[in-house]
């Protein structure tokens, strides 16, 4: 029996709420041990975007990014969480710089892992240059932290998904946990349709969006390490197991990632649709994947043969 003081029934019950529906602040407070979170540069500091006023857009005191430190089963972690309900969680100057500072600190401390709770549409267009550069700085800081031996874990399951440069940052993380709702993609559905036409991608076809970019597909092709149920509790448990399973980031990691990505193109490069990929992977009833419950899907996913997806 656990003697932990932070698994009181009340806290566990609160953790059963949907990750997708929860705000960034709720995710952070329920992901971590009760009352353990200490925010850095919180909303009381009113460090807002200096660039939204000229567009007559509302500002937010935390610029849609919460960063700080807390405990997860008494292990210290740094946490960064994007609020997808403010500007679609998009990366602006202040929003991004908070995460950059946190990652640089984790790199220099060397022993405290980082959890990034992604919920983003990508670059905030009203400050596009600053947002793009913030993403470049974050990618570099993630890699510097990993080289210093720090695990950087991404958790994806929010309303805004993980799009644009957010997808590139996710691809730099040590490991990812994604729920069914957690879409990962560089170009969003509307962007592909606008640039290439509705024949290339029909952004209104929601089933197409989910099966091309959603968490189930990412789990099956190896775009994520773990597939989680849409509860804060499951994200918490999965984050713990990913934190326990850290690997060094070396040249060997890059060679293995190159091999797994080339293998993917070789195997599935001519597939027209996600269902064709799942079928050729040996999923019995590929067309039924989108309808499967969490339990049904994880059972089906465990049956398929897959190469070493761990290298990232």
């Amino acid at each position: 029996m656990s003697v932990s003081t932070n698994t009181a029934p009340q806290a566990t019950g609160a953790r059963q709420v949907s990750w997708y529906e929860a705000s960034a602040r709720t995710r952070v407070s329920q992901l971590l041990d009760e009352s353990s979170f200490k925010e850095f540069l919180g909303p009381q500091e009113r460090e807002m975007s200096p660039n939204l006023k000229s567009f007559d857009l509302p500002e937010q005191f935390d610029d849609g990014m919460i960063v700080g430190r807390g405990l997860i089963k008494r292990m210290p972690v740094f946490v960064a969480a994007q609020e997808g309900r403010f500007m679609g969680g998009a990366f602006g100057e202040v929003h991004g710089a908070k995460l950059t500072g946190l990652l640089r600190a984790s790199r220099d401390i060397g022993s405290i892992p980082v959890l990034i709770l992604f919920d983003t549409g990508g670059v905030r267009l009203q400050e596009a240059n600053a947002g793009e550069l913030a993403i470049a700085e974050i990618m570099r800081a993630v890699i510097e932290a990993r080289i210093a031996g720090v695990s950087v874990i991404g958790l994806i399951g929010g309303r805004a998904g993980c799009y644009g440069g957010g997808g590139l940052i996710a691809g730099c993380c040590s490991a990812l946990a994604v729920s069914e709702q957690g879409r990962i993609s560089v170009s969003g559905p509307e962007v592909i349709e606008t640039n290439r036409g509705v024949e290339e991608f029909d952004s209104k076809d929601r089933a197409l969006v989910w099966r091309t970019m959603g968490g189930k597909h990412r789990r099956l092709i190896g775009g994520t390490d773990a597939f989680v149920d849409d509860t804060i509790e499951d994200f918490r448990e999965t984050a713990l197991s990913l934190l326990a399973d850290t690997r060094p980031f070396t040249l060997q990691t890059l060679h293995e990632e190159q091999a797994r990505l080339e293998w993917r193109i070789q195997q599935f490069g001519t597939s027209a649709d996600a269902i064709d990929i799942w079928r050729s992977m040996g999923v019995d009833d590929a067309a039924a994947i989108p309808e499967m419950t969490y339990a049904q899907f994880t059972a089906a996913a465990q049956k398929i043969r897959r190469p070493n997806h761990a290298a990232r």
Binding site: A97, S185, L254
Partner: protein, 238 residues
């Protein structure tokens, strides 16, 4: 400047760089006696999964090399297609960036040379993943063009152009990207690129990411450095 002229001016002692379907790859001796690995994107080619994995393969194949890695770029944005996203474009672009940054932090400094266009995810995975980004006059980096921005922000292009006169923060263009700190140097195309490269390599900035400080110095991105530094300090003390 045309690609052939750029390569001739950069490598007066010759080079083996070939362009193949919009991707550059080869080697070139430098004045220092070192041999540079050269990879890149030409002809405004979009970077999809095939392009990204070819470039990262070139970098990893040369893992025993010791000279700098030059990344020469005139690209479109990331390739926007169902196939590329279906197969995980984010992983391929991130992998390319990881290969470049890893090499840079392990003794092989990376220099980006932007001579044309680049945008969005392709920009992040190539030019912006280098230690020092140099641009040639006439380069046209963009995160997003004003027409698309106008659609999203519901502001007319005229209004956006007017706003862009007083801030470097959102509008496309080399000057704006340089002011925010993304571009370290703009080279003079009237002078030998080889000697400008030699001067850069002889006095190379450290591998610490100082782009936010450049943005402050150039008044183009004034707040990022301070915010990152404050969070850093609080986190270190926490």
């Amino acid at each position: 400047m045309q690609l052939a002229d750029i390569l001739a001016s950069l490598f007066p002692d010759g080079h083996s760089i070939k362009a193949d379907h919009g991707l550059l790859y080869g080697f070139a001796p430098l004045a220092s006696g070192q041999q540079a690995l050269v990879v890149g994107v030409s002809d405004r080619t979009a970077v999809g999964i095939d392009q990204a994995s070819t470039l990262s393969r070139h970098i990893l194949d040369d893992h025993s090399g010791t000279g700098p890695i030059l990344v020469i770029v005139d690209s479109d944005s990331q390739k926007m297609s169902k196939r590329d996203e279906l197969l995980g474009l984010n992983e391929f672009l991130a992998h390319l960036a990881k290969c470049l940054i890893f090499a840079d932090l392990h003794g092989r400094p990376t220099i980006g040379i932007l001579y044309g266009h680049s945008a969005a995810g392709a920009f992040l995975a190539t030019a912006l993943a280098t230690r020092v980004l140099v641009a040639l006059p006439g380069a046209e980096p963009a995160v997003m063009d004003l027409a698309s921005m106008s659609k999203v922000t519901k502001l007319s292009i005229e209004v956006l152009q007017e706003k862009a006169k007083t801030t470097a923060i959102f509008a496309p263009g080399l000057d704006n990207l340089a002011k925010t700190g993304a571009v370290h140097f703009i080279w003079n195309e009237q002078e030998s690129l080889a000697s400008q490269l030699a001067a850069l390599l002889a006095d190379l900035p450290g591998s610490d990411d100082k782009r936010d400080l450049l943005g402050v110095e150039r008044h183009g991105r004034t707040k990022a450095a301070e915010i990152a530094e404050r969070v850093y300090a609080i986190a270190r003390e926490s």
